[in-house]
């Protein structure tokens, strides 16, 4: 059926950056996430937690706080002292404004979403007004001593609770005066005591302030009287973050030991009106500091320095067995970080600030299933391209023949011509890259390496002509007929060079004719995020995967879904397929087997054989081991369209090389863990 030589690659030393802060918007069911390298990601909860948007990081930008305000506008502030608004359509920072208060540690939007309160290093709390297309400094509340580590608005918008070093304060927003000052216990340590940092506060509508501090306590205070209501020692190290549910009946806190605890407001006795905060559930999903938590209506969300985003559903709030009823862990981006020069056997790895080019090894022996073949030529690290400037790389690509490498940062597109001649590598930068006004969100080389497609803002795709021996010129700009405000984030070109498909943030897929540089058609709208696109080299069918795990096949020449695709929709995909954890991130084809589609997500790769019957829910989806035990003849009766291999994980990339061998890029979690700093020392039993 299909026997492959698999190049199992584990030398892509990618380490995802730790998660610094989270902001959940219940209104739009989206989660914004900022990483320690300044990168921002937006996850869409309605689309099976798909990482819908990404804004690459920046060397000098460290986001300390994120908040949604004024509808779906996203603001971030960081130790650089700037407050920025993110443009989620063009995927970049819209503008930045200096807060003039030194590094900013915390930020929160008032309940109506019209004001931002910012807590600064110099001890001031500054209020900014959110105007339709900017923010404006309004005033400062009375400046106090000590940096403002955390702040929280009272749900009525009249008071702000502020956490500082060793104390909590309550400000009256109208007058700007501090009306309450609460001292927080220090941790006694020998003769001295260490200062107590109030890492996070929350102001509840009944006037209770919840604080979490570096001593490891979660404390409840009466804001009016300034008295301590309850103390919960949670951890021997710091409690770094807390979040309250919208109904204010549940609190989630994260500690630097990697544990997440839930507190619930429960009646003291059954039926009693008096209720008390009780620590109910501990979760230990992280190995390192949990720097950020969020509380959605049905789940606890936590992110930590181990770069994992964990979404832990609360079983009492989840009804039924939907996608959101299972624990989800996200470590890897839902984007392609690897590109492959199929003809040359090269791999290009994208890191935040550099690219690596590798040549795959070779073998001259053959074997049967499961054998590990002797490597006759070891893989070779050919090239490391460092990007200049503080901006991180947002996308990269290598042409199929391996002679062109392109990458883009937020502001510039870079193009390099690579010469590979009997072992020696030389690279030449193409100096005159046409200055495009907007940034690139995705790059793709055509199959014949003569043009470069640059996905850009407002649904546009620029076509650049690649000229030998090392030049380039702007050829055309393709724009959708409908006019879209969202940036294009996925591209697929056909092998014959006639068609280009582009998917944008509004999930619309436009197909352009490259012969006429005109829009050809639009794929019928499907209300779920597109996760991967590819055009079949033989039939010119566009294969589309969505974040709800649906697979569609659209015939570009006929401008309609193919019969196979209709059959799939009618029959329905297998339950096991639909319940998979991660989205399909890459699709490729085997030109020798036109009926095959190769797809992969983080945990499996699959050959979808269109000529075989679709499985129904009664038959097992993963049947490879069972099939291998059957005779050739008996297999036919049991084989179904999904041939799934789970041997390699976690998978970052799978592609089929020209000569028919597979390349598989794995990044074992253990390898990432060893790169992380040591976690907080915890005493384990017997040590």
């Amino acid at each position: 059926m299909g026997e492959f030589q698999v190049h199992r690659v584990r030398f892509f030393a990618y380490v995802p950056a730790g998660i610094r802060c989270l902001a959940h918007s219940p209104r739009s069911a989206r989660l914004a996430l900022a990483r320690t390298d300044g990168a921002l990601e937006v996850y869409n909860f309605a689309a099976n937690y798909f990482q819908e948007k990404g804004i690459p990081g920046h060397e000098t930008r460290t986001t300390e706080a994120l908040c949604w305000a004024a509808g779906d506008r996203l603001f971030g502030a960081g130790l650089g002292g700037d407050i920025s608004e993110y443009d989620l359509e063009k995927l970049r920072v819209k503008y930045s404004l200096d807060g003039f208060g030194g590094p900013i540690w915390s930020m929160a939007a008032d309940p109506s979403g019209t004001q931002l309160a910012v807590g600064c290093e110099d001890g001031s709390v500054k209020l900014f007004q959110v105007l339709p297309d900017k923010i404006q400094f309004e005033r400062s509340l009375d400046r106090q001593k000590g940096r403002i580590m955390s702040l929280s608005w009272h749900p009525s918008g009249t008071h702000i609770a502020v956490g500082s070093i060793d104390l909590l304060r309550v400000f009256d927003v109208k007058s700007g005066h501090a009306i309450q000052r609460i001292l927080v216990d220090r941790r006694p340590q020998g003769l001295y005591s260490r200062e107590c940092v109030v890492w996070s506060v929350a102001f509840l509508s009944d006037g209770t302030i919840v604080s979490s501090d570096s001593v490891g306590k979660v404390q409840f205070w009466d804001s009016e009287k300034g008295t301590l209501l309850e103390t919960h020692p949670v951890s021997s190290s710091a409690v770094l973050c807390l979040a309250v549910s919208e109904e204010e009946d549940s609190i989630v806190v994260g500690t630097s030991e990697g544990a997440v605890y839930q507190f619930q407001l429960l009646p003291v006795k059954w039926g009693s009106a008096e209720s008390k905060w009780v620590r109910t559930k501990p979760f230990q999903h992280h190995t390192h500091d949990v720097r950020a938590v969020a509380h959605s209506a049905t789940a606890l969300i936590s992110g930590g320095l181990d770069a994992q985003l964990v979404i832990r559903p609360l079983m009492e709030r989840v009804h039924g067995k939907g996608y959101d009823a299972a624990l989800r862990k996200f470590t890897f981006p839902h984007r392609r970080l690897v590109s492959c020069a199929k003809k040359a056997g090269l791999l290009l790895f994208q890191f935040p600030q550099h690219l690596e080019l590798w040549r795959l090894g070779a073998t001259n022996s053959a074997g049967k299933d499961g054998d590990i073949l002797p490597v006759s030529r070891a893989p070779e690290h050919l090239l490391q391209l460092k990007s200049k400037g503080p901006e991180h790389i947002c996308c990269s690509c290598i042409s199929l023949c391996g002679s062109w490498i392109a990458y883009s940062t937020a502001s510039r597109l870079h193009l390099h011509r690579v010469h590979l001649e009997n072992g020696s590598v030389s690279v030449k930068r193409v100096s005159k890259v046409p200055k495009l006004l907007c940034s690139a969100h995705q790059l793709l080389c055509s199959a014949d390496s003569t043009s470069l497609f640059v996905a850009s803002d407002e649904g546009a795709v620029h076509v650049l002509k690649l000229l030998e021996p090392g030049g380039c010129g702007h050829l055309q700009t393709l724009r959708p007929n409908s006019g879209s405000a969202q940036a294009v984030y996925l591209l697929a070109a056909s092998a014959d060079g006639d068609w280009l498909a582009a998917a944008g943030g509004d999930w619309e897929i436009n197909v352009y004719s490259l012969r006429h540089f005109k829009p050809h058609c639009t794929v019928p709208a499907y209300n779920c995020a597109v996760t991967a696109l590819a055009i079949h080299p033989v039939t010119n069918n566009l294969v589309i995967t969505h974040s709800d795990q649906q697979v569609f096949e659209f015939s570009i020449p006929d401008r309609e879904y193919t019969t196979w695709s209709r059959k799939v929709q009618q029959h329905g995909l297998h339950k096991g397929w639909l319940e998979r954890d991660t989205p399909i991130t890459h699709i490729t084809f085997n030109p020798k087997q036109p009926a095959h589609i190769l797809l992969h997500d983080t945990h499996m790769f699959c050959i979808l054989d269109k000529s075989l019957p679709l499985p129904d829910d009664a038959t097992p989806l993963m049947n490879q081991t069972a099939l291998k035990q059957l005779s050739e003849k008996a297999r036919r009766g049991y084989a179904h369209a999904f041939k799934i291999c789970k041997k390699y994980q976690p998978l970052l990339f799978v592609d089929l090389l020209e000569e028919g061998s597979l390349v598989v890029v794995e990044r074992p979690l253990m390898d990432i863990k060893t790169q992380l700093p040591p976690p907080v020392q915890q005493k384990k039993f017997g040590t």
Partner: protein
């Protein structure tokens, strides 16, 4: 978990057809195949739609001045369509007919309310006067006289079912705020009338019903938003006087103060109902919505607002809702999975996803619950069946008296003291069928104590069926009715003893031993007619092989378990073949006795308390039991898994424990007995062989582990080239 899925428009509704679109349509009936529906609008037209394509396949209209008065239906047998226009004119046509004027026409003498078409049977015509005729009978003589059954009541709702291959038609009528329910059986023609309990402040809005095991369940949605459940037996073959139906609250769909208007109800499956209605709570604006409720957990599963208003009509065919929404007929696809507590808390593992996961570590609470609570109902139906086999004379006399009002425990207990056995059976059935009591377990305990007390005082009295039925409620334990097993032992009712052993968690060791003694001393031949559950034996005793088993009497006395009867009956057909069977392999006891002994092996005990009682067994009994245990042990060891499949089969540990206990208790006797010598010898040989085998296995275990350790130790390093085959 039920969910509403996609929604699409089937067709627009023409407002011009007499009344406005808000009036809804006359009816929507299933078409000749599941994907087609037959829509009758408030006017002159009947249209056949293909639902998945959302397109009409055919459309038939009557003349300008006529109106179709009853929903057109499809005769599934012939593929013809039937409609009535102007109340009395019947039309029958086929797909290829174009003009309704030219098709078959029959003018009837009375006004038709509705036609009900069911698969595999002739359509039923319900007249406005309550009379029911099959279509063929009616067509044979269209001008026949149609009687008026309901005096001046108005039919509000009707539905037809197939129950035990017989069509049953049920319809509800109203007169001055009183509601009546009629159940009409067609073949033979029997009509029952029931009166619905009256509700003070609310009135029924919508009815729906389903039948199962001869029990008709009527669900009724009241204007206060409550759904009531009414159980009716379809067993009565003789008309009786009017009875008042009692209802039990199944679901409350709205909070107080709100009034439901123009609502309808549909059953989706055994746990789910759909309610379409307009909630009118005074401060807010009335809003209409379609909601799916789980009746088991009383929770709202999903709901959908219908802002453009509906006509309050809801149909549900093949996982699709059909309803008028604004000016269109909307189809909403729904999914309805069986809900369980495990699913509700998100813990249910999906057993269907892959068959590899056959072993589920989760307790399916749903199934447990069904076993526990559902059994009284299952039981009813079974007893009902058996009863119908017997003479009904007695019943006829007193059934009216009993059924008139619901039975209380006190009444039943007093009846138990003096009524005849069959009366008590009847009453008990009645009682259990209304069983939605809070202290069900205690009540059952009272009843069984009453029964047992009477058994003790009156030697001829032994209400076997009642006892079996009560035990099957799973609500009993030994301590609730300590004398029951003693009585059963006295009567040597092995079936009852088996049930007790299987279900009571707290049988004293003395009683267990008494049972064991009784079982061992019963002759195999005398067991053959009995009704012992053989489930635990089937996995290892080939019943046909044991030539002791001869033809079993086909007439099972109580016919208690229908499954059992089937199993037995298949044995009957197989004539026992003459076999040359090694005596080693042959079971020393008959299958019935084996099943009984298994029940003993399966029961709980404590060694210390059991040992003294075990000593009571006679030498012969010990030998027999030992032989059986040895047989089990050898059979069990043959299997790789060392276990018998099946729920109640003994495990190898239980067998070993009993064998050791038995040898402990009777060691001196067994050693002395000459006939035990061979047995002990073979047992010893077998055990020794096993011990030797295992010690050999232990020896190679270490080296195997070493092998295993060396194998996956391969470090793939950062790069490797492997072969992969996908088949």
């Amino acid at each position: 978990m039920a969910a509403l899925c996609e929604e699409f428009t089937l067709c627009g509704l023409i407002a011009s057809a007499g009344a406005g679109a808000g009036q809804g349509i006359v009816g929507l009936e299933p078409g000749p195949d599941p994907d087609r529906v037959l829509l009758t609008d408030r006017g002159r037209t009947a249209t056949l739609y293909k639902v998945s394509d959302q397109k009409p396949l055919g459309c038939w209209s009557v003349k300008q001045d006529q109106t179709i008065t009853c929903p057109a239906v499809c005769n599934f047998e012939t593929g013809e369509y039937i409609a009535v226009h102007d109340d009395k004119v019947l039309r029958i046509w086929k797909d290829e007919d174009v003009n309704l004027d030219k098709v078959f026409k029959a003018t009837l003498t009375a006004e038709v309310y509705r036609i009900h078409s069911l698969p595999h049977t002739e359509p039923l015509v319900l007249f406005k006067g309550g009379a029911v005729r099959t279509l063929d009978a009616l067509l044979a003589a269209p001008q026949q006289e149609i009687e008026n059954v309901i005096s001046d009541e108005v039919i509000r709702w009707s539905e037809a079912f197939m129950e035990t291959q017989q069509p049953v038609l049920i319809f509800a009528t109203e007169k001055n705020g009183n509601y009546f329910v009629y159940v009409q059986k067609v073949n033979p023609n029997i009509l029952h009338k029931y009166k619905l309990e009256q509700e003070e402040s609310s009135h029924p809005l919508s009815f729906t019903a389903y039948t199962k095991n001869n029990i008709l369940t009527l669900l009724c949605l009241y204007s206060n938003g409550c759904v009531y459940k009414i159980l009716m037996s379809l067993q009565h073959s003789v008309p009786e006087e009017e009875q008042i139906l009692s209802k039990s609250l199944l679901l409350k769909t709205v909070v107080s103060d709100t009034v439901l208007k123009g609502a309808s109800l549909a059953i989706l499956d055994k746990d789910h109902v759909a309610v379409l209605g307009c909630l009118d709570s005074p401060p807010n604006i009335a809003k209409e919505c379609l909601s799916i409720w789980n009746t088991k957990f009383q929770i709202l599963q999903t709901s959908k607002e219908l802002p453009q208003g509906t006509s309050g009509q809801l149909w549900c065919y093949g996982e699709k809702f059909f309803l008028t929404h604004g000016k269109v007929l909307t189809v909403i696809v729904y999914k309805c999975e069986t809900s369980s507590l495990a699913a509700a808390v998100g813990k249910l593992k999906d057993t269907q996803t892959s068959s590899m996961r056959t072993v589920s570590s989760y307790v399916n609470w749903n199934m447990l619950q069904e076993d526990d609570l559902g059994s009284p109902f299952a039981q009813q139906s079974v007893t009902a069946k058996t009863e119908s086999k017997r003479t009904l004379r007695l019943r006829r006399n007193n059934v009216a008296k009993v059924q008139r009002d619901t039975l209380t425990v006190e009444q039943l207990l007093s009846d138990i003291k003096d009524s005849s056995q069959s009366d008590i059976e009847e009453e008990l059935w009645q009682f259990l069928s209304n069983a939605q009591m809070s202290d069900f377990q205690a009540t059952v305990g009272y009843i069984i104590t009453g029964l047992v007390n009477r058994c003790k005082t009156e030697p001829t009295f032994y209400p076997r069926n009642c006892l079996v039925q009560l035990i099957q409620t799973h609500g009993l334990s030994y301590s609730l009715c300590p004398d029951l097993m003693a009585v059963a032992l006295e009567k040597t009712d092995v079936h009852l003893l088996q049930l007790c052993l299987q279900q009571f968690p707290d049988i004293p060791e003395a009683v267990t031993c008494a049972c064991l003694k009784a079982f061992l001393s019963i002759n195999d031949d005398s067991l053959q007619g009995t009704n012992v559950n053989l489930d635990s034996v089937i996995s290892y005793i080939d019943i046909t092989l044991n030539d002791q088993v001869e033809k079993q009497s086909a007439t099972v006395q109580n016919g208690f378990s229908s499954e059992l009867m089937e199993e037995d009956s298949c044995d009957i057909q197989l004539t026992p073949k003459p076999h040359v069977v090694d005596t080693e392999e042959l079971c020393p006891v008959g299958p019935q006795k084996a099943a009984l002994l298994n029940a003993i092996l399966y029961s709980a005990y404590s060694e210390t308390f059991l040992l003294p009682h075990l000593k009571d067994l006679s030498a012969q009994q010990v030998i027999l039991f030992l032989r059986y245990l040895q047989y089990l042990y050898i059979k069990c060891s043959e299997k790789v898994s060392m276990d018998f499949p099946g729920m109640l089969s003994p495990t190898i540990n239980q067998i070993m424990d009993w064998m050791c206990l038995l040898l402990d208790a009777h060691f001196t006797v067994v050693v002395m007995l000459p006939e035990a010598k061979g047995l002990l010898f073979s047992l010893h040989k077998f055990v020794r062989a096993q011990v030797r085998f295992y010690s050999e296995l232990n020896k190679i275990e270490g080296s195997l582990q070493e092998l295993q350790r060396t194998k996956p130790q391969k470090d793939f390093g950062l790069y490797s080239i492997e072969m992969l085959e996908l088949v």
